[in-house]
């Protein structure tokens, strides 16, 4: 359920894009350096966003260097180096990737996810010791989620709660949580988690109906053998309301943070990138609709 938090590239300034990529590469490199090269495959955009957000309010000075990396051997790239926040984001990346794989493995066992689990196992065990409290909290929320899934919880809000709480915990990184920031970061994290969970649920409607798996939206709105696209059409407005409302809450909380850096990148992602992703996932902007209007 990762990779939804993306920037709206066409509206980005070039320097912002370069910096965002430097964070992305920084997280990737940090994973490679500290956990082993193969684990870099678990990289996703969400942790780059986490790094950008947290270092926007940290006092830490960022060190941008030009380096080569394995994925892009020909061209040197800007990479953020030696940042404790980037390291944190990369740790969280590994931890969440591991839990996600475990969950996938439970749903539908496959060779790919099984071998990925084996690959991540050692790094994960080390991190679990380091972040014991966070990991225990994450596990309790995932168990809660599992319980709700078993009960076939018929409310998207209730079903999204554990994952939202999980993201809330992850976003509240203690070293940058001075004063009122913790409260703000937690509210951002909560709404991020809610948004991600529901986006994922909408994306998976078809697959879940086919496989008979639990899906909060299918349960809440009572799917009755109509065609999947019809069903998606029916529930679209309702789901869109909650998704955009969550984005709105993220933006309002974000406006209360005293941002020291990365403002343009964050505004781009919060006001445009995530809204674009929402509309694309819900299928609001279609090629045919555009053509009709021309």
């Amino acid at each position: 359920m990762f990779g939804y938090i993306v920037p709206e590239k066409p509206e980005m300034k070039i320097k912002e894009y370069e910096l965002f990529r430097a964070y992305y590469c920084g997280v990737c490199r940090s994973i490679g350096r500290r956990h082993g090269q193969l684990k870099r495959l678990a990289l996703n955009y969400d942790s780059a966003f986490l790094a950008v957000l947290l270092s926007a309010i940290a006092e830490e000075r960022v060190d941008v260097q030009r380096k080569r990396c394995i994925a892009h051997p020909l061209q040197k790239r800007h990479i953020i180096c030696g940042s404790s926040i980037v390291d944190y984001a990369s740790d969280i990346n590994i931890i969440l990737a591991y839990y996600n794989l475990e969950d996938k493995q439970r749903d539908e066992a496959s060779v790919v996810s099984a071998s990925a689990l084996v690959m991540l196992k050692r790094a994960f065990c080390r991190l679990r010791k380091q972040y014991r409290d966070k990991c225990e909290f994450i596990e309790s929320q995932l168990n809660e989620l599992l319980r709700l899934e078993k009960e076939k919880c018929p409310s998207m809000d209730m079903a999204a709660e554990p994952f939202a709480r999980l993201m809330e915990e992850v976003t509240a990184y203690e070293p940058v949580c001075a004063g009122s920031r913790e409260e703000i970061l937690r509210w951002i994290g909560y709404n991020l988690g809610k948004w991600i969970y529901l986006m994922d649920a909408f994306d998976d409607i078809e697959k879940d109906i086919r496989n008979g798996n639990y899906n909060p939206l299918v349960c809440q709105f009572g799917y009755e053998n109509q065609s999947v696209s019809e069903f998606r059409q029916q529930i679209r407005d309702k789901v869109e309301f909650t998704l955009v409302y969550s984005l709105n809450e993220i933006s309002k909380a974000f406006e209360l943070l005293d941002i020291k850096a990365n403002k343009g990148i964050l505004e781009n992602i919060i006001y445009m990138g995530m809204l674009r992703k929402t509309e694309n996932t819900l299928g609001i902007r279609r090629c045919s609709e555009v053509e009709e209007s021309v």
Partner: protein, 209 residues
Amino acid sequence: MKLKNPYEVLGIREGASEDEIKAAYRELVKKYHPDQYQNNPLAKLAEEKLREINEAYDYLMKNASARGNASSGSSRSGNRGSYRSDGSDFFSQVRSHINSGNIKLAEDMLDSAGSRPAAWYYLKGLIFMRKGWYDEAYSHLQRAVNMDPSNYEYRSALNRMNASNNAYRANSFNRGFSRKEPDLCTVCQWLWCADCCCECAGGDLISCC
């Protein structure tokens, strides 16, 4: 707490003109207005921020205009919304718990309530909003409005939820977000049309076709 640079607070360059200060101030007040943060867990912080903005504005206006027309534009009274007693002590108690941020207690009280009139659904809706359960919040407010259509407070809470999403979208739109962006096939169509027109006029835009 140390005093912040008032120019920084308003997000303008030092030595900005009076009009610039006023414009920036108006924007910020709109952004952090209590209406925007009603039933939001961060409402207190927004209030603080607004106070900071008001102080910065007052300070700058006092200094900017030696003429003495430094009218303080900060008479923002606490926007609590008119308090309507629902004719029952129980609900006003729940309401005061919600206002003081004691959500858990308010929710427990409501859940143990015997009867469920419109006020029950309204308050439950407010609690859901604080918790971040927007879908439930909306349907509870909707229900409260349906049960008591004449109640202005219920209706305005529901309207606020609707308006809130529009505000976010308007903000995205101002930053350049557009739903009707031309995709690749539209651009090609335009090019092809332009080429035809040029050829009709005797010229050529795309020489190979």
